[in-house]
């Protein structure tokens, strides 16, 4: 899903940078006021884990491949603002060290993977967990992860579709293609998200109970938590 240089129109690229810069400024401010020091090693570990996970390219539809994002785990476990910063660390290093995503498209890539891909799973999981009073939390994790991937791909498709004539396919082609192909990887993202979160809740409930969005799941799992 990493957009290289040359695919986006200058206007779309600039809008991507502006939106990303605003979100990151707020993220630094909010995380600087809330991040518990005990969450820092977990933040670093999950960032490294999903950088590595993004190196795996899975076959999806029509001979194409896609990779996991990791935005759901980062957003739900660390909180969306810290998750946004974690994903930005990945994207910036991928861009500058490995030419994975262009420098002119960095804002757009942060917007799709670091903002939509992180906030959507968190918001969906939080809203549905609240509505269901903590029941079926695992299902909401999966739903959030799946929709986060698909919506991130749709936003990438919208940015590309709005970049005509640089990217000649309009919205009507770019958006469905991105959404269809990433719905397959979205299913894998859902499975991985549930596996990682449940493992963390089971193995380190005391750390997970530091995360506001995880407290209900820690309680439901019956694991002892201590702050």
């Amino acid at each position: 899903m990493h957009i290289p240089d040359g695919f986006l129109s200058p206007a779309v690229a600039v809008v991507g940078f502006i939106i990303s810069a605003i979100f990151l400024a707020v993220a630094v401010r909010k995380v600087g006021k809330r991040l518990d020091e005990r969450m820092v090693p977990l933040m670093a570990l999950l960032t490294a884990l999903f950088f590595a996970a993004q190196m795996m390219n899975y076959p999806v539809v029509g001979g194409t491949t896609a990779h996991l994002l990791g935005g759901a785990v980062l957003g739900i476990v660390l909180g969306p603002w810290a998750g946004c910063i974690s994903m930005t660390v990945i994207l910036v290093l991928q861009c500058f060290l490995f030419a994975d995503g262009g420098i002119t498209a960095l804002g757009a890539n942060i917007l799709t993977m670091g903002i939509v891909g992180v906030f959507v799973p968190f918001l969906i999981y939080s809203a549905l967990s609240k509505l269901s009073k903590g029941r079926c939390a695992v299902v909401w994790l999966a739903v959030g992860a799946f929709l986060g991937d698909v919506l991130a791909a749709i936003v990438a498709g919208i940015l590309l579709g709005l970049s005509t004539p640089v990217f000649q396919y309009g919205l009507e082609i770019a958006v469905p293609a991105m959404a269809l192909h990433h719905s397959v990887i979205g299913a894998a993202e859902a499975v991985i998200t549930v596996a990682v979160v449940l493992t963390l809740v089971r193995v380190r409930p005391e750390i997970m109970s530091l995360s506001p969005s995880m407290r209900s799941l820690v309680r439901v799992s019956g694991a002892p938590s201590k702050e």
Binding site: M1, P4, A44, L45, A48, L49, A99, Y169
Partner: protein, 109 residues
């Protein structure tokens, strides 16, 4: 690394080692089994004759070490990069958490 693990009450050095080992397995899978990348974007771009490029010269384009273009070079690069990303994210987290502590020490909200 030892310092960072011991200072936390929950995530211990063993947890970090296991987590990084899982990340290393992901890297190895990505290098040896799931390395072929043909994303939707690439296919669409190819169909319209559009070639993506990178304005900045990257030291390791496409996860390849110049002069060591085999899978072992990519594997070593992936492992080293994973550790580096861990350390960068740790440093960023520490800096942000330090702001919270500084605000707390000065009584700021």
């Amino acid at each position: 690394m030892r310092d960072m693990a011991n200072k936390t009450r929950g995530l211990k050095r063993r947890d970090l080692a296991i987590g990084l080992a899982v990340a290393f397995i992901f890297v190895a899978l990505g290098v040896f089994l799931l390395s072929e990348s043909l994303e939707t974007l690439d296919v669409q771009a190819e169909e319209m004759g559009l070639v993506g490029y990178n304005i900045l010269a990257s030291p390791f384009p496409e996860y390849v070490v110049p002069g060591f273009e085999d899978v072992w070079g990519t594997l070593l690069l992936g492992l080293a990069s994973t550790v580096m990303i861990f350390m960068v994210a740790y440093a960023v987290g520490k800096l942000l958490a330090a702001r919270l502590q500084a605000d707390g020490a000065t009584g700021a909200s």
